[in-house]
Symmetry: C2
Subunit: 207 residues, 2 copies
């Protein structure tokens, strides 16, 4: 009976939670501090299971000092890749992805043409700088564009988990696929409330 009441919910974490300064603020001054403080809170929530795809963890490793992270990491933050050869995705999403990319590719060409036409007026170096920014904006922002992004989405789908991310492209896909998501800026509150709930639950079960 007690077991039934303790059905664990899965949560999939993106790196932004620890890496993005504005977001991790509530957890710590550095990515390492933020990860440590997350681990100590996470340990207190037996009803939640935390996951991160290994590809995302690899990214995180570029920002933290691994030797300063406690062994709790190994039991609190499960590193699990999605079952990419077993999962499937609805075919209509292919249409949306391909159409989205098509529009972006066209926009990228317009950005490039405009850059070429600006050279004599603005100068090569200035134009290149501007081109890079605008091209990136046109082709990368608000779209899933890496295997790490796909890992996050598929893992959350596989585990029916809540996805903690600030990436607009990923959030858009989470919406399409019916995946719960939460902005990292809300995540500490979410953890603290979960700790409170788990305490109440434990009290209740003792009675």
């Amino acid at each position: 009976m007690a077991q039934e009441k303790f059905k664990r919910e899965a949560v999939v974490l993106d790196t932004s939670l620890f890496v993005n300064p504005a977001v991790r603020e509530s957890f710590g001054r550095t990515p390492t501090e933020a990860l440590e403080s997350f681990l100590s809170l996470a340990l207190q929530v037996p009803t939640l299971e935390f996951y991160m795809p290994p590809s995302i963890f690899e990214e995180l490793l570029n920002f933290i000092e691994p030797e300063k992270i406690s062994g709790d990491l190994l039991i609190v933050l499960n590193q699990k890749p999605p079952k990419k050869y077993e999962l499937s995705c609805p075919a209509f999403l292919l249409y949306e992805l391909i159409e989205d990319i098509r529009e972006r590719v066209n926009k990228g060409l317009r950005v490039a043409e405009k850059a070429v036409r600006g050279v004599t007026r603005i100068g090569e170096e200035e134009v290149i700088k501007d081109l890079r920014r605008k091209y990136r904006e046109a082709l990368r922002e608000g779209i899933i564009d890496s295997k790490e992004d796909v890992d996050l989405i598929l893992l959350a789908r596989e585990l029916d988990a809540m996805l903690i991310t600030a990436d607009q492209g990923i959030i858009k896909w989470a919406e399409k696929l019916g995946i719960k998501w939460l902005l990292p800026s809300k995540f500490k509150e979410y953890l603290l409330s979960s700790i409170k709930r788990d305490h109440l639950l434990a009290e209740h079960l003792k009675q």
Copy 2:
């Protein structure tokens, strides 16, 4: 018993069969002639069922004179869209698509930068012409890049059909998804042999 032996096979047609001059040659001088000559051959092969997604047929309409096409079209060439809200695609393909696009997007930026750096040497108009060609090459060729492409692939998958296309991007996906495909240049031969086989089969059934 006879019915069992006449199990019909599905064939999905791309427009290139009728539109690409090098390919349609064996069928006729114009797209309209090619379509008419296909229809008269197709009528003679009761074991094959021919399909075209409506989106592809729309494209074809830009090239033919509809009033010159016989009503056989309506019974020989089934216009059927894929069941896009029921079909699914293996998730690992998402990875391949996203990685492919990522590389192309990077290449597109390099093409654009090179164009910008060529303006003072080569001149704006020449650079723009060159940019358009190279950008297109980098971002469009050998990849599925329109909903019409997706329609073809999904319809062939749904019907377990053979796909007749010369599009390298579509062929690549057919290979990934286990879809039979044939180059349009081989298609007339394929039809003629099918007519022969169906005659033999009919003889055999009469005995």
